[in-house]
Amino acid sequence: MRTSVIGVWVLALTVGWAARLSCQGLVFDARRIGMGGLTLGRSGNLVRYNAAYRAVPPGEDRRGQPKATIPIPLGVIQFLHDHPNLGSDPEFKPGSPGFNPVLAVNTILNLPLYYEIKKAPTPTNNVVFGIGKDSLRVNLGASAQLVPEDQFGISGSSRPLDPGFGIKGVRVSVMGWLHDDVELQLDDNLLGFLADSQSARHDSTYRVFVHGIVQGGFAPTVAYAGRIVGDGSSGLYVGGALHYYLGVAYFRTDGTGGDSIGNPIFANPVNATAQTITQYSRAGNSFGHGVGGDVGVAWISGPIEVGLGVNDIGATITWPDTRTDTAFYTNATGGYSKPGPNHVQTTTKLPVSYIANLGYTVGNTTLGMDVLNTGRGATVHMGGEQRISIWALRGGVARDERKRVEFGWGGGVRLGPLGLDVGFWTHTNSLSNERAVTMATSVSIY
């Protein structure tokens, strides 16, 4: 059955590569797409990651920022056109001979909101396996470069809710928080086998290191944001927040999985091995607790705007009621779990994230750049917009977490309170190093 053939590996590779794109966050604004994903004014990531921006009044935002943006998901129409019977489409039906887990995973991780102008080609080189009585070798050809040499995975840190009230810059709230992180890494043997076409060796283990964590809770928060220097048109804004994190539940696992090859290579039919150490604190157990903070600063002077924000500083959560189990799997014994200590204290950390931004506006021209790191590497966006009468032209460039350079360009027209924007964006998918081009469209309300 194809599902079993493709199995864990294809999911790992696909998720690993595709997720790096998705974890940059979904962008619905065609303006932002056209500027290479650049965050301007009080849009996008600035308010989320810079505590000072809560105090920067909208009047300071002269970047042509609309009040609201409504995406026009042409990609959904395209997707439904390509897959008219989604419910019975064998490519999305697990168990069907035509089930395509790569397509399914990619669709989930990269929602088809954008219209694909140019799809990235999939590799077309042959892959050659050499099999002998006591030898095994694979040559992926040019596709070997797709084998991830570094750690890969999915991660996210979000604050889904933050209800509260504020007086004179001071705000008291209860913030929800959620952090997830799944990381995989091939060991040297497996990497050499797949990427360097090394022959399988006797008495060697080929493994994948696995780390996963998901934790969530809420955090009573006291925050301040305000202007400490300047007037309405320029000033220095600072912000800070102190969180008392209360963790509701968490789950963390670390381990390895793979196979131990014997001597000769095919002598032992299956030597699959896996072992993990799992720690978890269920909902209903004693809350985890910890203290952390955010700081931010924004300086606006004439045409220049500069900001820096750092989040979750020192956010270490102590979980007083944790259980630790160890799980093993070998071909000989099968899978079994060994209960470990219960009601023990463990700690987790939230990743420190930061954003730095620079904006420059003169006349109808806006230029800017930002650097964002949410704990898995920095992304850089640089872009600009030129407004000419009712028209706008945009362009930008970005470097993603894989250190690949992507390009954005686009334009828009504004008719009174309404605007129509279109943005084009290059991206690389999981299976090719050639760039694809997507188009985003949105309606802006000014």
Binding site: M1, R2, S4, V5, I6, G7, V8, W9, V10, L13, T14, P97, N100, V102, L103, P121, T122, P123, T124, N125, N126, V127, V128, F129, G130, I131, G132, K133, D134, S135, L136, V138, L140, G141, S143, A144, L146, V147, L190, L194, Y206, G258, D259, I261, F266, N268, P269, V270, N271, A272, S430, L431
Partner: protein
């Protein structure tokens, strides 16, 4: 049965890497029979012709699940030792999922036309291919499994007045399995 992780890893790499390309499994069958009795097929024909064969040999594969095998090529060489008399040799290859199945006529996956035996090394050849033969398509599904049994049969025909005898020693034998699924 092969290591499942190996199958999953290798095939998923194929899936992830091939695109419209092909996955080619080059199986060194000779490595499985080298140094065993299976790599040698003796013959002794007083007159007329004689059918003889090697013992069935198990060949390990990676398994290809429900993937469709497009074609399978075989390439190999042999030498004749202790040759006496004159005659021709024709090869047949039988493939089956089990040992007994290779004895069935329906398991025939290849017929190499009879050729004159000489002292030089012979190359398995099926015109118009210069150095390989295409197996019958009926054998293709067997290569999606994790193992296949093979038996090499020889028809030796005496064309001379003296006994036609000797032994064929296989010196190389490679199966190339081509899989070209439209995954994406």
């Amino acid at each position: 049965m092969r290591a499942k992780w190996l199958r999953a890893a290798c095939l998923s790499v194929v899936v992830a890497a091939c695109g419209n390309g092909e996955a080619i499994f080059n199986i060194d069958v000779y490595s499985f029979i080298k140094g065993t009795a299976q790599d040698t097929i003796p013959y002794f024909v007083l007159s007329g012709s004689l059918d003889t064969s090697s013992a069935p040999q198990l060949i390990r594969l990676l398994g290809a699940g429900s993937s469709v095998v497009d074609s399978v090529l075989i390439a190999g060489t042999d030498t004749v030792q202790s040759q006496s008399g004159s005659g021709t040799i024709a090869f047949k290859l039988y493939l089956a999922a089990d040992s007994a199945g290779t004895r069935l006529p329906s398991a025939r996956a290849l017929s190499v036309p009879a050729g004159t035996v000489g002292s030089a090394a012979d190359t398995i050849s099926c015109p118009p291919r210069p150095a390989s033969c295409l197996l019958f398509s009926s054998a293709n599904p067997l290569f999606a499994k994790d193992s296949v049994w093979a038996r090499i049969a020889v028809t030796a025909s005496n064309t001379g007045a003296t006994p036609f005898a000797g032994k064929i020693v296989i010196t190389s034998l490679v199966l190339s399995v081509f899989i070209n699924d439209k995954i994406f």
